[in-house]
Structure formats: structure tokens, C-alpha cells
């Protein structure tokens, strides 16, 4: 680009952006590279190998990782499904419910899980479960995850719904669709990109959670983050790097997917206007 004088341009900002990307990606790339290290030690380079990837699936800790992965994914999927359903209903209630008394309070309540620091949520949930005698286990993790996933699912869903003109619903109703049909055949398909984005966000957030899970997980139950934390507490081992790389690739695949879904939704929305 040849700029003689560009008022929007500040020298050095491009450099900072590059620095920013280096900082963001540097550690991840290093971990990726070292996950192929054919050496017991994490400090020395011993050539390229896939041994640590093999190790995750067949090594001593493989059973633990498999169980943790299974727990993580089942909990994340169920938490994401339930919280997405609740958040979708809440979005319609908030965005399409008109003005009502307590709307702000309702919004505050829905966003409460985002506003309360995670460690506080963890403490409060632990105290609560222990007081009512709720047995800590997979179910306790699932319930807690559903709670804090709701606002994360709510945000993209309600943003999408806000951009949808209410006349679609009126048209559907005018054309003899009842409330459920209106939702099922008209509103939901148009909201779909938002719902999907909300689901993915909730899924990732659940998959990502460490603090709350660590507080309220029951005996013998690990999710991937707690299992990884347990391992890295004693020092970073090469198999953890391999596992991290796999998770990292999974996350990137998921976010790329959601990016393209979002883009498609955006395009159709734009075309309508």
C-alpha cells in the first residue's frame, strides 16, 4: 500500500498488532511443536515423533484421559443443550415479551452467572450443595455448568433475535400458524444461526471450565481440564502437550465452523434488508 498521507494510519500500530498475534499464538505453537518431541524431557529436543499422541491413547494415563474426555464431552453437550433451550426461551421472553415490570431485574438475573466471579460461583455452589446434601458427582457438575452456560448462550441468541423483525411472527400467525408452529416453522429457523452460536459458545465454555468443576466434582470424576490440571501440577509432561494440541485443534475446528455458520447467517440477514 502506498500512502502519502493517511489520517487513519498510525505508525507502529501494525507492529503492535503483529506483536499481539505473536504473543497470542507463540505459546500455543510452541506447545504444538513440542508435542511432537521424541524425548522424555520437555526441555531437550529429541527429534520428531508421534509417541506422545500414541501415549494419550494407550499409555498409563490413557484410561484417565479417556474417562475425562468422555465426562467433559457428555457434560458439555448436555449442559449446552439444556442451557441453549433455556436461553432461547428466555430470549424470546425478554426480546419479544414487550415492556414489563422487572425486565431489568430479569436481565440482571440472566446475566448473573457472567457477573459473579467464577471462584465465587464455585464457592457458593459448593456451600449450597453441601448444605442441601446434594451428592457431589457428575450431576452436580452438570447442574453448575447449565447455570453458568445460560448467559453465554443467551447473548448470541438474543442478539440474533433482536435483529429479526417481528413481522415474520405476525405473518406466520396471520397465515394460521399457532404459537408453537410459529416458533417451530418460522422463528426458530430464522433464529437458527444465533441458537447454534449460543450452543457452541455454551459448549466451549462448559468444556473450558476448570474452577467451578474443580470445586464441586465428586469422587473419581475428572473432566479434561481438571485431569490436565492434576497432571501439570507436578510439571508439564510431553503427553499433556499432545493432549493440549488435540484439544486446541478441536477448539479451532469448532470455532471455524461457528465462524462460517455465523457468516452464512449474516449474509442471509443482510440480503433481507
Amino acid at each position: 500500500m502506498n500512502r502519502t498521507f493517511d489520517i487513519t494510519h498510525y505508525r507502529g500500530f501494525f507492529g503492535v498488532t503483529c506483536l499481539c498475534l505473536v504473543i497470542l499464538y507463540g505459546p500455543l505453537i510452541i506447545v504444538m511443536v513440542y508435542s511432537f518431541n521424541d524425548s522424555l524431557s520437555i526441555t531437550n529436543w529429541g527429534g520428531v515423533s508421534l509417541r506422545w499422541y500414541v501415549d494419550i491413547f494407550t499409555g498409563l494415563e490413557s484410561a484417565k484421559f479417556k474417562a475425562a474426555a468422555w465426562n467433559s464431552f457428555t457434560i458439555a453437550i448436555m449442559a449446552a443443550i439444556v442451557s441453549t433451550i433455556i436461553a432461547t426461551a428466555a430470549s424470546i421472553g425478554m426480546i419479544r415479551g414487550g415492556n414489563f415490570k422487572g425486565k431489568f431485574v430479569s436481565f440482571a438475573l440472566i446475566s448473573l452467572p457472567i457477573m459473579v466471579p467464577e471462584i465465587v460461583t464455585a464457592v457458593a455452589t459448593l456451600i449450597f450443595f453441601s448444605t442441601i446434601g446434594f451428592k457431589l458427582g457428575t450431576l452436580s457438575i452438570l447442574v453448575a455448568h447449565i447455570v453458568f452456560c445460560i448467559p453465554f448462550a443467551y447473548l448470541p441468541i438474543s442478539a440474533r433475535l433482536q435483529g429479526i423483525d417481528a413481522s415474520y411472527e405476525e405473518a406466520a400467525q396471520d397465515l394460521f400458524a399457532n404459537r408453537w408452529m410459529t416458533f417451530r416453522y418460522v422463528l426458530m429457523p430464522i433464529m437458527w444461526p444465533g441458537i447454534l452460536a449460543g450452543f457452541l459458545l455454551a459448549f466451549i465454555i462448559s468444556l473450558d471450565d476448570f474452577i467451578i468443576t474443580n470445586f464441586i466434582k465428586g469422587a473419581g470424576i475428572e473432566t479434561l481440564p481438571t485431569a490436565i490440571f492434576g497432571s501439570v501440577k507436578q510439571g508439564i509432561k510431553p503427553n499433556i502437550m499432545a493432549l493440549s494440541t488435540l484439544l486446541l485443534l478441536f477448539s479451532i475446528a469448532l470455532v471455524t465452523l461457528s465462524y462460517f455458520i455465523g457468516k452464512r447467517g449474516e449474509v442471509t440477514q443482510k440480503l433481507q434488508q
Binding site: W70, T74, I77, G137, T138, A219, G220, I221, K233, G235
Partner: protein, 343 residues
């Protein structure tokens, strides 16, 4: 539709997880303290699915159990003084006479111990010592003194990792000062507090789980550590030496205890009996590099274990002492000192 099937499967898995455990055993164990092969062996032999959660200090195990995981675990592996505390808190189940077939395998000296008279709740697991190791590349001077921890020479300042374990740190400090543990004497308690406050300045980090790694990676030059763990660190390439200081060191015994409200009590007892078999406990010893308290293990043990410097206190070293259990008043002051140290 695929997703529906998947949800169904996931729901089923959750239910299965929370359903009453048949053929299961839930162990609350120290980290890196049991070889996976041995767990596998038990699992196969008794057709029991074993899950192991780990902790990194006696105190945190107690806290976690009291925070709602009691009733989910069958057995735990507390240290000596913690057995006494847990028994006092009513967290332990009693093993009736005859419930463990291999009770007779326990070495006599570990049969009737002060922290569990008559072995009503526990069996021996491993015993060893707590002291510290020094990287010989970083420091070549005299390491036979607790000054290394509490009053370190210049080149070791800021390169010390200390176990995040209240009982052992307080006991070492008391040894350093030459005062009795759980002393109720105000002046002695004050000097204990002052010692730890001043020593903290020179410490880099607190951590039990990282104790080995920081020595291997070189992140720390001195590490308060258990003897077997130190041996493992040395085996992994750290040029370190384990110290048996003149002032004395901490001796401990970890024990497998039967927890109250164990969901799989029968399997727990099977597991304990399993660990009383010389061949099995020897596998633990070979892995953890400490010593067991079971008769007849010698033939199964690595020969090296007997001669390892970590397992053989040098002549002239101070005496090894167990961590004492204090009365509530003193313990509360201890807690106060510890809190001041850790925050």
C-alpha cells in the same frame, strides 16, 4: 436424530455414573503414589473398576472430605498424624477383627502405632522421611543443617521450594529452633512465627506436587521434599543430594484407611488385603522409592532401594520425629501462623 441418540447415550452414561457402584472402588490418594500396573492388577483380579483421585497434602484431603466428598470414597491414604485427626473427627470406619486376612503381614513395629492403636482403621502403606534436597551444581557447601531452609546461604536465596504441607513445615521449623512440637509456650510460638516469616523472604514457591519437577527442571535449587520423591528426582537426572540434617527430620507413615460410609466397603477391604500382600506392596515401594511396613517384601524389592542414600540416614544425623497432633488451642495458633505464612 443422531444427536438424539447421542444425548440419550450421554444421559445414560451420567445415570450409570451416579448409580450405586457394583464392582467399583474409589480411592483418594496422594498424587504419583501408586503404579498404574498395580491398580490394573487389582482391577483384573477382583473385577473391580478403580477410580483414583489425588490430593497433595493431608490437610487438603481433610478439607475436601469435609466439603462434601465424604461418602464418595472408599479408602484414603492419610499420613500418620492425619489418621489420628480423622479418627477423632469420626471420618473412619472400623475394621473388625478378621476382616483383613493379611493383617498378620504387617511388621510388628507398625502394628500397634500411636496414631492408630491396634490398627483399627488403617494399614501401613509407605513410610519415609521429609527433609530437603539441594542441587549440588548450585551449592556445594554443607547441607546437613536446616539452615539451608530457614536461613539459607546467599546463593540459595530465592531458589527454594517448600512443601505446601502445614504439618511437615511446622515440624521442621520446630526442629530448627529446637523447640518441642505443639508447644503451648507463647515465646516459643512467637519465635516459630518469626522464623517462618523471615524464612519466607527467601522462598520462591510453595508446592508439594511440583516438588520433584522444580528440582528436575532446575527451577529451584533447594526443595523441601520426601526422601523417595527426591530419589525419583535424582533418577530423572537432577544432580541433587537429600539431606538428613543435624537438627533432625520428619518421619512419617502413610496409611490406607477405611472411610466411613464407604460405598464399596467390601472392595475397600479387598484392596487393603491386596496391599498387604508382600509382592503388591513391594511394587508400590519400588515405584515410590520409600519403605513399606510389610513382612516378606525383601525378595520383591529393587536391590538399589536398600542402599539408596535417600533411604539411609547418615551417621550423626538428628533424630527423625513424627508430626505431632496439637490440642485445639495450640492448633489454632499453629493455623494462625500457617495462615500468616501462606498469605
Amino acid at each position: 436424530m443422531i444427536s438424539k441418540a447421542f444425548i440419550g447415550a450421554a444421559a445414560l452414561a451420567l445415570v450409570a455414573n451416579t448409580a450405586a457402584a457394583e464392582g467399583k472402588l474409589s480411592v483418594y490418594h496422594w498424587f504419583e503414589y501408586i503404579p498404574a500396573e498395580l491398580v490394573e492388577k487389582f482391577s483384573k483380579e477382583y473385577d473391580v473398576k478403580v477410580t483414583i483421585d489425588t490430593f497433595d497434602s493431608n490437610e487438603s484431603m481433610l478439607a475436601s472430605l469435609k466439603a462434601g466428598t465424604m461418602g464418595s470414597y472408599d479408602v484414603a491414604v492419610p499420613g500418620d498424624y492425619m489418621v489420628e485427626i480423622m479418627a477423632g473427627e469420626g471420618l473412619l470406619d472400623t475394621i473388625a477383627k478378621g476382616e483383613l486376612a493379611n493383617m498378620a503381614n504387617i511388621e510388628d513395629q507398625w502394628l500397634n502405632v500411636s496414631f492408630d492403636p491396634g490398627r483399627k482403621h488403617s494399614i501401613p502403606y509407605q513410610w519415609g522421611s521429609t527433609s530437603f534436597s539441594v542441587n549440588r551444581d548450585a551449592y556445594s557447601g554443607n547441607i546437613n543443617t536446616t539452615d539451608i531452609l530457614f536461613n539459607p546461604p546467599e546463593q540459595l536465596k530465592g531458589k527454594i521450594n517448600v512443601l505446601d504441607s502445614q504439618g511437615e513445615v511446622m515440624a521442621m521449623a520446630a526442629l530448627h529452633l529446637g523447640i518441642p512440637q505443639c508447644s503451648a509456650d507463647r515465646e516459643q510460638l512467637k519465635s516459630l512465627d518469626a522464623l517462618l516469616q523471615s524464612a519466607k523472604e527467601n522462598w520462591a514457591s510453595f508446592g508439594s506436587d511440583i516438588a520433584k519437577d522444580v528440582l528436575v527442571s532446575g527451577d529451584a535449587a533447594v526443595g523441601m521434599i520426601w526422601n523417595g520423591f527426591s530419589a525419583k528426582a535424582r533418577a530423572e537426572g537432577a544432580n541433587i543430594e537429600y539431606s538428613y540434617p543435624d537438627q533432625g527430620y520428619v518421619v512419617w507413615m502413610d496409611n490406607v484407611v477405611l472411610l466411613r460410609d464407604a460405598p464399596n466397603r467390601a472392595n475397600a477391604l479387598n484392596f487393603m488385603d491386596f496391599l498387604l500382600e508382600p509382592e503388591n506392596i513391594a511394587a508400590v515401594t519400588n515405584y515410590a522409592r520409600y519403605a513399606d511396613g510389610i513382612k516378606g517384601t525383601t525378595e520383591f524389592l529393587d536391590a538399589e532401594l536398600a542402599t539408596m542414600p535417600e533411604n539411609n540416614p547418615r551417621a550423626g544425623a538428628g533424630a527423625g520425629v513424627f508430626v505431632a497432633v496439637c490440642d485445639q488451642t495450640t492448633q489454632e495458633v499453629y493455623d494462625q501462623i500457617w495462615t500468616r505464612l501462606r498469605s
